[in-house]
């Protein structure tokens, strides 16, 4: 058996502004500077793959894995186009993408690799890689965030990532590209005055960060639905579900909150989680667990249902 494993995971912001225009806001500058600490940790690790789940890459047909070995293009943010374009040249681990696809299919998920010249890789992934892996020393992988998937499907996608990591022998850093509270200001603001959209969002973010700082990732995963309801969590906090699931659904981590700042009203945090033994105490389970995806529950459909496998 190969010794593929997850070395650690980081939650990073979904917005490009700390990467594109840090000088415009003390909050963005702070995040920009804090990325350097995360980068140093990743560089000191033995990682040979950075695997990203990004809430900014939305998919409909199941789950897409980026598999263009050398994407070379640019992307312009839909809102923040006046801050310029993000030109990129990345190194993607195409073999791992294929393995991940196969492992996802083996767990009943719809999955496919994509490799097309000019494919618009999402601004969240590009920003994270520019800040954390600017010279492409470590290969990257990116998986999409299905718009219809809920917790069960996302857990299965996380478990498939764990299967693929084991099978491929890669030593992996996981990145969850996601905001905490994801309520943006809907008008132009002075970036100098950026703040979390509401006190309530801020309080919920801080509660989540308190738990993450204690390494209690699975507790945060269990809390995600409530957090999303209360604080407009980013995409139901699927990035947390995916990370927690891919790492084995425990609270046994050393947690580090590197930074927490507003980006255009959203809660933007840099959090690190390193596996460590028996730090997080017992688990509080409110949510169900699942190992296999059996398709969308379209009970009103008169059409043929997806075949149910064991």
């Amino acid at each position: 058996m190969s010794d593929g494993r997850v070395l650690g995971a980081y939650l990073v912001p979904n917005q490009p502004l700390p990467c594109m225009a840090p000088e415009q806001s003390p909050a963005w500058q702070s995040l920009h500077d804090s990325y350097a600490k995360v980068r140093a940790e990743i560089e000191a690790s033995e990682a040979d793959l950075i695997l990203i789940f990004s809430t900014r890459w939305v998919s409909i047909i199941g789950h897409q894995m980026q598999a263009d070995p050398e994407p070379d293009f640019w992307v312009v943010d839909e809102d923040f186009h006046q801050f310029g374009s993000l030109h990129y040249k990345l190194r993607i681990d195409a073999d791992f993408a294929a393995t991940y696809r196969d492992c996802a299919k083996a767990r009943g998920l719809e999955a496919r690799t994509v490799a097309y010249q000019g494919f618009p890789i999402d601004v969240g992934s590009i920003s994270a890689l520019k800040m954390l892996n600017p010279d492409n020393r470590i290969a990257a992988g990116i998986v999409s965030c299905n718009v219809y998937s809920d917790r069960a499907e996302t857990l299965v996608l996380g478990k498939a990532a764990a299967d693929a990591i084991k099978q491929s022998g890669r030593k992996v850093i996981l990145l969850g590209v996601s905001a905490l509270s994801n309520r943006m200001f809907t008008e132009w603001i002075d970036p100098q005055q950026d703040r979390i959209h509401s006190l309530k969002d801020d309080e919920w973010n801080r509660k989540l960060l308190e738990l993450l700082g204690e390494g209690r990732l699975e507790d945060v995963s269990q809390l995600s639905r409530e957090f999303s309801r209360q604080a407009n969590g980013d995409s139901k906090m699927k990035a947390i579900w995916w990370m927690a699931s891919a790492m084995g659904q425990t609270n046994d981590y050393r947690g580090t909150v590197f930074d927490y700042q507003p980006v255009w009203g959203t809660g933007a945090a840099l959090v690190g989680l390193t596996p460590a033994k028996n730090l997080g105490g017992g688990l509080e389970y409110d949510e169900d667990d699942t190992d296999f995806f059996r398709g969308d529950r379209n009970v009103l459909s008169t059409a043929k249902q997806k075949e149910v496998k064991p």
Partner: protein, 302 residues
């Protein structure tokens, strides 16, 4: 300009990239099999093109759900765009080399009029911007030559950030501002609301995406809503359609939640005229109608 401008025709012109794929234009990289899954919609678009071919218009305005903006409503503000638009959702079907002109003067006028309505507006002036597939697809299907300038308006997230009712009010205001801008600049405009009706997708795809045996509506609920909404259009009950819009959005996951249809109705002053349904069909489970409100013909009759 001496003569005041006007909206010649308003259309619901949905944008499944599948339809461009099926038409196999040279600008699109992938080739389709021609197996025919979306024939009713392609035929519907052919009927729409036939219906508008003798109309006089000098600009096409499109409101697109696939340029999603959180900070207000954005308009393309660069006179010429050229490049490759790969759909991040269906990259296997849509990799389109676009080359299009923008009526920046009209876009700016809409921007200014809408600001007067209290809306947050922004001109997009980055020449490297990737024009979204909604804008390209609706334009291609209505006028494949791309020989007229366009105006493209983004879909603000008001419905999602606040409520469906707040979104509706904003889109009606944006529509009214669009109408005034068209009149003031003397344009003869064709308007396209680039959205589907019911909008729940299947999350898998057959080996040949155009396989007709796979294609059908997601479920009966979606189908019933679509036909109800088309009936309201056909019988001129656009007020009632607006009243029911929040229910339609909530119950059928309608893509109207991106605001395009309400913008169009607002720009046309919520006309109580009977609309012409040129086609209806499903694409990967979603319901799509091609509908025309022929304002010019209505004027002649009046």
């Amino acid at each position: 300009m001496s003569e005041p401008g006007r909206i010649v025709t308003g259309c619901l012109a949905p944008h499944p990239p599948h339809l461009v794929y099926a038409a196999n234009p040279e600008q699109n990289e992938p080739r389709s099999s021609g197996a025919g899954a979306w024939a009713p919609l392609l035929e519907g678009y052919a009927r729409l093109r036939e219906s508008i071919k003798d109309k006089e218009y000098d600009v096409i305005l499109v409101h697109t759900p696939h340029w999603k903006t959180c900070v207000g409503h954005h308009l393309l503000g660069v006179p010429h765009f050229e490049g490759l638009s790969v759909d991040p959702i269906f990259p296997n079907l849509f990799r389109f080399h676009f080359d299009l002109q923008v009526d920046v003067e009209l876009a700016q006028a809409i921007h200014d009029e809408a600001e007067k309505e209290g809306l947050v507006m922004n001109m997009m002036r980055n020449p490297e911007f990737r024009v979204d597939y909604g804008t390209i697809t609706s334009n291609y299907l209505v006028r494949p030559a791309f020989d007229l300038p366009i105006v493209a308006i983004s879909s603000a997230r008001t419905y999602f950030d606040y409520s469906d009712e707040a979104g509706e009010r904003e889109m009606l205001a944006l529509g009214a501002a669009t109408k005034r801008a068209v009149e003031k600049t003397g344009r003869k405009a064709l308007l396209l609301a680039s959205c589907s009706l019911s909008h729940r997708h299947f999350t898998d795809e057959p080996a040949d995406p155009e396989d007709p045996s796979f294609e059908h509506i997601y479920n009966e609920n979606q189908s019933k809503w679509d036909h109800h909404v088309m009936n309201l259009m056909q019988t001129g009950q656009t007020r009632r359609l607006l009243e029911e819009m929040p229910d339609f959005i909530a119950q059928a996951n309608a893509e109207c939640r991106d605001g395009s249809l309400t913008w169009l109705l607002g720009a046309m002053d919520v006309p109580n005229m009977e609309a012409k349904i040129h086609g209806y069909g499903t694409v990967i489970g979603t319901g799509n109608a091609i509908v025309e409100w022929d304002l010019a013909a209505a004027e002649v009759q009046a």
